[in-house]
Structure formats: C-alpha cells, structure tokens
C-alpha cells in the first residue's frame, strides 16, 4: 500500500473512532480510553525502543510525572488542566534530558536495568514528597463525562502516530535507525548519536507524560505505586513488540488487540486476565520475536514453518 492510501485509511479509522462516544455503551467508551492511552504509551515507547533500539524499562516514569504534573497543578495550585499538562510535560522532558545524558551512554542489559532502577527510585522519591501527597496520593477534581477524555486520548494517539510516521521518513528517523543497527557506524557517518538519542528519549517522554496527565484527570486519583507502575511498562513494551516494534502502526494494533483480548478474558475469568500479559510475553518472544507485522509478511510463504524457524534460529 502507498503511504498516501495508508494515511487516508488511518484518517477514516480515526474519524470513525471519534464517533464512538455517541453510540457506544459507557463500558465500551471506558475500555476505549484505556486502550487509546495504552496505545499512545506503546507508540511513544516505539520511538526509543523500536526505532532507536534502546529498550527503556523506565517509561512509566514519564507517564507518572505527567500525572503528577496535572495533579500538583490542579490540587495544590488550583490551576487549569492544560497548565497541569504543560507542567507534566516539562517535568518529564527535563527528566529525560537530565537522566538521558548519563543513562543513554549505557547499552544492552545495563541500559535496561538502569531505566528499571529509575522507575523504582522515582516511586520512592515521590512517596516522600509533601507536595505530591506522599504515599497517600492526591485526589483530583471530578470532571463528569467520558467523552472529553475519549476524544483527548484519541487526538493524542493520532498526534503520536503522525510523529512516528514523520520520524520513519525523516533524516532524524534514519539517524535513529542507524543508531539501532550499528551505533559506531552511525557516529562515523556524522550522526550526532548523543543528541539523537536524547531527542528521541525526550520526544517519547513528552507523549507518555500527556497520556499520564489525561489518565490521572480521568481517574481523579493518583498515588506513587499506580503512577510509576512497572507492570504498565511491561504492557507498553509487549504491546509494541507484539504488534511490531519499529513500525508505524504495529504498536497501535498490538495495543488494541491485546487490550481487547485482556478485556474479554477479564469479563470471563478475572485471574486469567492478570497473567495474560506474562503468557503473551513468553509466547511472543519464543514464537514471533519480530512481532505481528513480520508474521503477516512471512506467513504467506512459510506457513506454520514460520514459528519453527524462529525457534530454530535462537535455540541452543
């Protein structure tokens, strides 16, 4: 498919989705908000994890900072929601710049675990801050009606996806992909690797922060353990990987598919839904490590051999 056609199709889907609050049931709209926010998180992770090849396990920090930006601005200073969002984005981008500089020098296991450590540190720090309500958390003013939140989340996902689409065909994006494939070679080709990595980190932090802000205002409650939840990080990573990390629509489709399956499971067997993401991770890494996009591409030729080939390639 040509990109123009793809974009037209995407615009049509977005337009159709925008009408959901007018005909869908409240449960459906609420499920939609959650799925859209998760898709935004998966898509923003895609920038640093998928395109740049730096698998961050600390993106929930940005999400949490966004939530706290909104909560602190609205509860402690009685400022409007939009100002809170700006504060959240500011905090997250500042964090990405300050910590990106040292942390993005690390590679492989070390980068992954350092970011995981950051998430733990932030939980502990925020639980000690008076302005953030310590470990009790903050209660935000109530805004009735899910429609606003649905449209906001949808718009955010659209903007994030457009940004990723732009990245994938821009000079900046080629630089990121070069870093993923071979960082030394990229540096030799005059890619300013440090700057590119930090910009990618900051960009994904901004989107994750807005998602966190919207979610916090919608839920009207925020505490450290839910704001910096590590399982949220697991979810965004597996959604991106399941759909296809480093592709434009993969993370969004992955997020929608996994959210839907998990929702259906939750309505049938609650306990099964909880381990669902764990099982999907294990199965996806073993059978389709390059994601759904790759499966669709190769399944036509290889049929069921596709799964065998994947195992054969990586087993000892």
């Amino acid at each position: 498919m040509k990109l123009g056609l793809k974009l037209a199709l995407a615009a049509l889907v977005v337009g159709l989705l925008a009408t959901v609050p007018w005909w869908g049931s409240p449960v459906m709209v609420q499920f939609g908000i959650n799925a859209l926010i998760l898709a935004t998180l998966a898509q923003s992770w895609n920038i640093i994890g998928g395109y740049t090849g730096y698998p961050s396990f600390g993106n929930s920090v940005f999400y949490g900072l966004g939530g706290y930006g909104v909560a602190i601005a609205m509860v402690q200073f009685h400022l409007p929601f939009a100002v809170g969002l700006l504060l959240g984005v500011f905090l997250a981008v500042l964090f990405a710049f300050l910590l990106g500089l040292p942390v993005l020098r690390l590679r492989g296991h070390y980068f992954a675990i350092a970011t995981l450590g950051l998430a733990e540190v932030m939980t502990a720090i925020v639980s000690n801050l008076e302005i953030a309500g310590r470990n009790v958390g903050l209660i935000l003013p109530l805004l009735k009606g899910d429609t606003v939140f649905f449209e906001l989340s949808l718009a955010l996902l659209a903007v994030t996806t457009i940004t990723v689409a732009w990245i994938s065909r821009s000079r900046f994006g080629f630089g990121l992909i070069a870093i993923r494939e071979n960082e030394e070679a990229a540096a030799v080709m005059a890619v300013n690797t440090t700057l590119y990595k930090i910009l990618a980190f900051a960009l994904c932090s901004a989107f994750a922060a807005i998602a966190g802000g919207i979610h916090a205002y919608w839920i009207t409650y925020l505490d450290p353990s839910s704001a910096f939840d590590i399982t949220l990080n697991v979810k965004m990573i597996i959604m991106a990987v399941f759909g296809g990390a480093g592709t434009i629509f993969g993370p969004v489709l992955g997020a929608f598919a996994l959210s839907a399956i998990s929702e259906i499971l939750a309505s049938k067997v609650t306990s099964l839904a909880s381990i669902f993401f764990g099982l999907v991770i294990v199965a996806a890494v073993v059978f389709m490590p390059r994601g759904f996009a790759d499966l669709v591409r190769r399944f036509r030729q290889q049929r069921w051999r596709y799964f065998q080939e994947n195992i054969k390639a990586h087993r000892v």
Binding site: R105, H109, A114, G117, V121, P289, H314, R315, V316
Partner: protein, 287 residues
C-alpha cells in the same frame, strides 16, 4: 558511637543475606548471559516453600531450607530446559523480556495460590538475641548470615573444584570450545539455571525468617540483587559478598541518618550511579 556500631552490625548481617540473593543472579548472568528478571520471584517462591514447610509440617525453617533449594532447583531446571533454552541465542532484549514475562506469571500464580496477605516464619527462637560488644544481635539474623556465607563458600568450592563446576566456567568463557570437550550445552544451561534458582530459593527461605513476605516482594529483590551484581561485578563470588555487605551497610546507614523510607532511593541511586561511572562494577576490571 554505640548506635553506629549497632547499625554496622545490622548492616553486615543484612548484607550477607543480600549477597546470597545476588549470587544466583550473578551465576546465571555470567554463564548464560541472561539477566534473569524473574530472580526475585524465585526468591519469593523459596520464601513461601519455607513458610509452608514450617506451618504445614512443623519443619524448622533452617531444615526446610535444603528442601526449598531442591524444589527451586527442579523448577529452574525445567524453566531453562523448556523455555529459556529456546531463546538463548536471541538478542539480549528478547531474553530480558521473556524473564520479565516469567516474573509476571510467577507473581500472579503466587498471588492466586498464596493470597496477597503478609506472612512471617516465626520459629520459637525468633525473638532470641544476645549482646556482642554492646550491640544486640538477633539469633535468626546471625544464623541466616552464617548460612548465606556458607552457601557462597560452597558455590565457590563447587565451581572451582568439581568437574561440573569447571564445565560451567568453561562454558561461560567459550561455548564452542566447551562443546568440543563434550559439554552438552542444553543440559549444562539447565543445570546452571537450576543452581541459580536453588540459591534464590535458599535466599528466600532465609528472607522469610528475617522479614515479612508477600507475592510482590520479587521485583524489588531483583533490583537489589542487580545492584549488588553491578557493585561487585560478575567475576568472582567473593566480590558478590563484598557488594552485598556494602549494600546492607549503606541501607542500614540510610535508614538511620536519612529515614527508613529512603533506603530504596539510595540503593537504586547507587545502582544507577555505579552503572554510569563504572559499568563493569566497582570491583571489576575496566572494559
């Protein structure tokens, strides 16, 4: 001064246990090049094994420890043989992700089977303590420290002085060469992961005696183990001991001078700091 001495004693006793926690993680990382994010979950399982052997069969927790180790060894062997061996040559991110998935699965299965309530293993001598040069030393903590030290030493003996131990170290250095000498990597990997899990089980059994347990303790224990591995480096089990003692003392000092709620900030702060300054570990060689 008296207080500082007490804090140091507490820190050292805690540090010995921390070292044992990290030992299995370091072994698996060094030999299989897998950073096992489910390590903390295995520690948690060890703690529950000890708890149920104690409450169900009246077994003394220190007698339950070997049983917990055997159980965890079997589980670890099966996980490596049937799951992790399938992805071991995949990129590092994939192996990291799959152990993350295992952590989620183990934690939720534990929550369903054991419930989310806090549990403690309270043998009759749980409150016993004695005074050493003015510092109070709880008996169970000293015992746990002794067992942790003993197991660290035993692992060192095993790796250096047995055939299997040499095969494990050879595989860590050069898989191809080890294969030429008749090492079966599938079995050896499973064995190594099993030993790592058994050490986690032992650490868990001791953790249950000195602290409260619930199904969610895993992820923070993985983080602590990783911090110790980073501080000590991956080269020698004795360095892990130093890393564990260091973290134990620093946490005890933090709890006293800054506040008990900040211990995690400090230990993870150190982790990130060491990673940035010396990624090969404070004691390890420079890359």
């Amino acid at each position: 001064m008296q207080l500082l001495w007490q804090i140091l004693v507490n820190g050292v006793l805690l540090g010995g246990l921390y070292a044992l926690m990290a030992l299995g993680l370091v072994l698996v990382w060094g030999v299989l090049n897998i950073v096992n994010l489910a390590h903390g979950a295995l520690i948690m399982l060890g703690a529950y094994a000890c708890y149920y052997l104690f409450t169900g069969f009246g077994l003394d927790p220190f007698a339950a420890l070997p049983v917990a180790m055997v159980l965890l060894f079997c589980l670890g062997y099966l996980i490596q043989r049937h799951v992790l061996n399938l992805v071991i040559r995949a990129p590092m991110f994939n192996t990291l992700l799959i152990t993350f998935g295992l952590e989620v699965v183990i934690t939720f299965l534990a929550q369903i089977t054991f419930s989310a309530d806090f549990r403690t293993v309270n043998p009759s001598y749980a409150g016993a303590n004695f005074v050493l040069l003015g510092a109070t030393v709880p008996l169970v903590r000293l015992l746990a420290f002794g067992v942790a030290l003993g197991l660290t030493f035993a692992l060192w003996l095993f790796l250096d002085h047995t055939g299997i131990g040499r095969a494990i170290r050879a595989t860590a250095q050069n898989l191809t060469a080890a294969r030429l000498y008749g090492v079966n990597p599938r079995r050896l990997y499973a064995l190594t992961f099993g030993i790592g899990a058994a050490l986690a089980g032992a650490a868990g059994a001791l953790y249950g005696v000195v602290s409260q347990i619930n199904p969610y303790i895993g992820s923070s224990l993985t983080g602590k183990s990783f911090a110790i591995a980073i501080i000590g480096g991956l080269e020698k089990s004795i360095y892990v001991l130093v890393g564990g003692l260091f973290l134990g003392i620093v946490e005890a000092l933090t709890a006293l001078y800054i506040g008990p709620t900040y211990t995690d900030v400090v230990s993870f702060g150190i982790l990130v700091l060491v990673l940035i300054v010396r990624p090969t570990g404070l004691l390890g060689r420079t890359a």
